[in-house]
Subunit: 659 residues, 2 copies
């Protein structure tokens, strides 16, 4: 039986939509021609209706969705490669391979919808200059010992008096105790040892349960070992390419998780896997990560003479921080049981694997390790947050809030920690909001409203394409303080209120020069309020479970993909964050990515991650009436019990009196 | 540069012959028809010359070589499958697969030699009832913990209060600390755990460097896990199929090592690998072992309902004791450096692997572990001997002599041990002796001579086909005591002396009913004397190195494939064994096989093997002038210094006076 959180979420529709889409994907209906077809672009859900011979690219232009058309729609540049779920006919496949076509990839300029379709636009197919914001507050890495590290073995040449075998000679020179060695490496050892004059460089993987020699090369060969830190999110995947010698980031890239085509949130992905098996979702997430590699390699700042010249081959270690379901799907594990009470994953700490086992296009022997997770709904991404924050090394309690699709909360200190997941929803990541988008170029990321006048800031400048999490928080907080939105989240009569075909909406940015209007509807606000209510209720439930209040919290760490520029006071005004002095807040951004890099680079941080996993007690909120009471109370602005937000009340009064 | 031992051995010719054969194999000359072709049958080197349309089977009949012709040479029964090195033409391939034909297999009844060829006759192609003797003196296995063992995990079903992941739940129930788990097993865990009601059986491999879960199944499923203990010899391969629950042997099989087609001794095999790469030798030894499996499974004494019904799939652990070169070739490691000073192998203790990595036709996940070896010429077979003998648990020094192709010697006790290899040669294993054969049906395994009258015992009864090691030792010892052979190994004038086309020979068994005569020539005796001299000299050199004499030795353990019925007094008479009271000798037979079984079944014995490997100091005799002096002195019967053999002298006198 699906859980109560799911039931709550299903009301909002994404699961039902996902199921409908997936059914359509399997049995494409063949509609009569010339009927209007709806084309929905993901992420963001911009849509257009087309008829006749219109292509998906035409629909994208109509919908205002960003799809690259460098070659003018002649099917030659390959830039408009999108993933399509639904029936199409094609005038060819341009540079796509048959495998890609079989996987659902299409050239937007060559494919015509034959029915309603969903189109996932990878970042590579968006117009240039887009970058998903994935910065984070950094932390010292401590002593460096990456997941894969080099040791030079300077061996005495064998003699009749010292005829120890090559392997035993190597192990003695490495002085590391037990080291596993694969047969393939052992086969190359005799010739490498002799050709190098008995001075070799061994690349060693720290597998968590031991150490394994990954390769042995002459010590004289120049090399530059690279690692990847990956934040594997339900909505976006962000990666950093890291120089393993010093931990420095040499390249960054991110993209939407292509699994979006199979459902926007975790539960709909699991439902898809349950119906169709995990294979397609596994392929899609591998596609997503592997597609980041060319861009990462192109950014890489140094000469290419090292190794084989193939940058991907230099990547010998990969650390992944993801929620539990995403990690399952990356490894091809069946996530079904995550969805059903008592919500038990196959593994919290999956074993370290090789890139060839996982299917990543880096060095086949590269070690791939996932940051361990606590439970089905508090995964390695949260452990990574905790590691980056260092909160479990402090004496005073901290509250960590990850405003991702799920909305996880951790409360704790050196001696204890509790955590939960709130099933918050993706409203602050651009999901389930009509003009929503991720924090990236073109997103409205900050809003101020005064006396009915709106002022917006657009990432990268230019015309806005949508609104991201920090912009939405600002908008709702400011509109509430300014009086355009009431305590129930309904629009008041004001100059900003417009009637649209999706109901009453706030006009955030009017249409100009033919660009579309950016509006936020009452439904969007209701979605955002459900999200904020779930997060606030989760914090409250954790505090109550240990007999504490917000005042006992020494710091509030805010992590998540809505950008690092969240306006704390606006978040408090909408009741997302508690009404504490602003200096207690610390916005740490995409901490999961930072934690993954720490896990990649430092044995000390890996030990911290394991200790954090063991030290966190998981509270299941789906069975907590306390949580549902708190949730219901939080479905107002800022809260049913306004006394919990004295500073916000003060500002409201001040603003209104001032206005 | 090849070593001095090799130079010594090359004089006897096997290396040169092997090189010639292998060159022929690569570039088969096409001779004119109707010319006589020589067909040499290995092992044993019986040969015949054929002309015209004669098949290999016809040649075998002429040569007296045992080749099965059940179907009367119609090419249908498949029993006469032999391995041919040299050019042939064929009237078809009977039931052979194209892969087998490509590997050099032929139906003897369908293949005609086009030039001189060597033919390796696997035991399966010999006439029925043949079994290579591979018994050994057993030792208690101690507490059983096989290389692969089962543990039942009775897990509490998860609840909302105890939602630990499946993997962590399994590990907790197994209570074993760190256990590696392959991705494939992890993928099956969720469904297996649930379908079994949370009661599963885990098969766990002890890899030496840790433990790995090999499979997880419902605890209720009936199963019978089997293991293989393998003595991987240069000449023969012997295997026991063992019930892993109790260590009992359920089937036995053995065969000649098919690598013989590429050279009879270790050095010629290495030379072959150096010239052609190790691949063909690797395939041949895998062929040899895999071909034993059907026979082992057929012998298996219990019902077939267990597991998949495929007996080979029930084999989940394989322990291999082999000399260092054989282990290299089994694993596909390049053995080249074993042959060149300072004689350094790639690995003494290769890592534990899976059967699919190695290429054995048992369960793909089966663990394959090799008994660790000390040096290039004292391998895991000798460590296995030491483990079976228990000599390194005793306070008093023992001397262990393994009369295999190499002739290794170990001297030691609880506190210390030294060891060496003597490059003895295969004379006592049926090699390099004109009528030599292994200890198996048809072999003369005991000889007594009194007053010029010979009496022989034939294994399995019937007419003799050749003479094995114990028979040859008896023959030379008895003939020396009786006066038919002088101190230099030359034949005296006696009724037993016959002139043959290979020079003067002792008539051991006259031709009868059309069967061939079994004779031993002066060259054969010279070969046997070189072998015994090398072994005796090795013992002497080891004793001198620690300042001891034979009298200080509390027990002499004699291991080797010449059968368990060696006549100690005759071995002393020829100077192979020292002149100590007979009660100090213990013949332990194929101790390497017994040690492999102990290694398979007991963690205690595996620890003993590692301790033995670490505790044995290897002496390289190729640089020892002491050894060469001792060797030269031992090239007489029983020895240049007859005072070393007072008991033998006494018997000689008695015998001669009595006669």
């Amino acid at each position: 039986m699906a859980n109560r959180l799911e039931a709550m979420r299903t009301a909002a529709g994404p699961l039902a939509r996902a199921m409908a889409r997936s059914a359509m994907f399997m049995l494409p209906p063949r509609p009569p021609p010339l009927v209007k077809r709806k084309v929905t672009f993901l992420p963001g859900a911009a849509s257009a209706e087309v008829e006749g011979k219109a292509t998906i690219y035409d629909a994208a232009v109509d919908a205002g969705a960003s799809v690259n058309g460098s070659c003018g729609g002649r099917g030659v540049c390959g830039r408009c490669k999108v993933l399509v779920d639904g029936p199409t006919e094609r005038d060819g496949d341009g540079p796509l391979t048959p495998d890609e076509v079989a996987s659902g990839y299409r050239m937007a300029c060559l494919a015509r919808p034959l029915g309603d379709v969903s189109v996932m636009v990878p970042e590579t197919a968006m117009n240039g200059g887009m970058r998903i914001e994935s910065g984070y507050a950094d932390r010292e890495l401590g002593e460096l010992l990456p997941l894969a590290y080099r040791r030079t073995a300077d061996m005495p040449a064998p003699t009749l008096e010292d005829p120890a075998p090559d392997l035993e000679r190597l192990l003695a020179a490495l002085g590391q105790g037990r080291l596993d060695i694969p047969l393939g490496v052992l086969k190359t050892l005799p010739s490498t040892a002799r050709s190098s004059g008995w001075k070799v460089s061994a690349l060693i993987a720290d597998t968590g349960s031991g150490s394994r020699i990954m390769s042995v090369e002459p010590a004289s060969r120049p090399r530059r070992d690279l690692g990847l830190a990956i934040d594997l999110g339900t909505t976006t995947v962000a990666a950093e390419m890291v120089d393993l010698r010093n931990g420095k980031v040499v390249a960054r890239a991110s993209d939407y998780n292509r699994q979006i085509i199979c459902g926007e949130d975790v539960l709909s992905r699991i439902a898809y896997a349950e119906e169709h098996g995990p294979r397609r979702l596994n392929e899609l997430v591998l596609d997503t990560i592997n597609s980041l590699l060319p861009g990462l390699c192109a950014q890489r700042d140094d000469e290419r003479k090292f190794h084989s010249g193939r940058c991907g081959e230099d990547v010998v270690a990969v650390a992944v921080a993801g929620n539990t379901a995403m990690v399952h799907l990356l490894l091809g594990l069946d996530p079904t049981n995550i969805r059903y009470e008592p919500y038990v994953p196959a593994a919290g700490s999956p074993p370290a694997l090789t890139a060839s086992e996982v299917g990543l296009n880096v060095s086949g022997e590269a070690i791939v390790a996932c940051v361990p997770g606590v439970a089905s709904y508090v995964g390695g991404d949260i452990t990574a947050d905790v590691v980056l924050s260092g909160m479990m090394l402090r004496d005073e309690p901290s509250l960590l809030i990850d405003v991702g699709t799920n909305g996880e909360v951790v409360l704790g200190c050196r001696d204890w920690a509790v955590c939960c997941s709130t099933s918050a929803g993706p409203a602050f990541e651009g999901g389930e909001v009509s003009c929503g988008m991720r924090a990236m170029s073109g997103a409205i990321d900050a809003v101020s409203i005064s006396g009915g006048k709106v002022d917006v800031s657009v990432m990268g400048g230019g015309r806005p394409l949508g609104i991201c999490g920090s912009g939405l928080i600002d908008l709702i907080g400011q509109a509430f303080l300014d009086g355009e939105v009431d305590r129930k989240g309904r629009l008041t009569e004001s100059p900003l209120r417009k009637e649209t075909d999706r109901g009453p909406a706030l006009m955030v940015s009017p249409p100009e020069d033919g660009s579309k209007a950016i509006t936020v509807t009452e439904d969007d606000i209701a979605n955002a309020m459900r999200t904020k209510a779930a997060i606030y209720a989760g914090c409250s439930a954790l505090l109550r479970s240990v007999g504490m209040t917000f005042d006992d919290v020494s710091q509030v760490l805010v992590a998540g993909g809505f950008g690092r520029h969240i306006g704390i006071s606006n978040a408090q005004a909408m009741g997302l964050l508690p009404d504490l002095p602003e200096e207690r807040f610390s916005v740490i951004g995409n901490a999961s990515l930072g934690g993954a890099r720490a896990f990649l680079m430092s044995a000390e941080r890996r030990a911290e991650a394991r200790a954090a996993r063991d030290g966190m007690t998981y509270m299941d909120l789906s069975s907590s009436s306390e949580f549902f009471d708190q949730y219901s109370s939080a479905l107002f602005l800022p809260h049913t019990d306004a006394a919990l937000f004295p500073r916000v009340l003060g500002r409201m009064k001040g603003e209104r009196e001032g206005g």
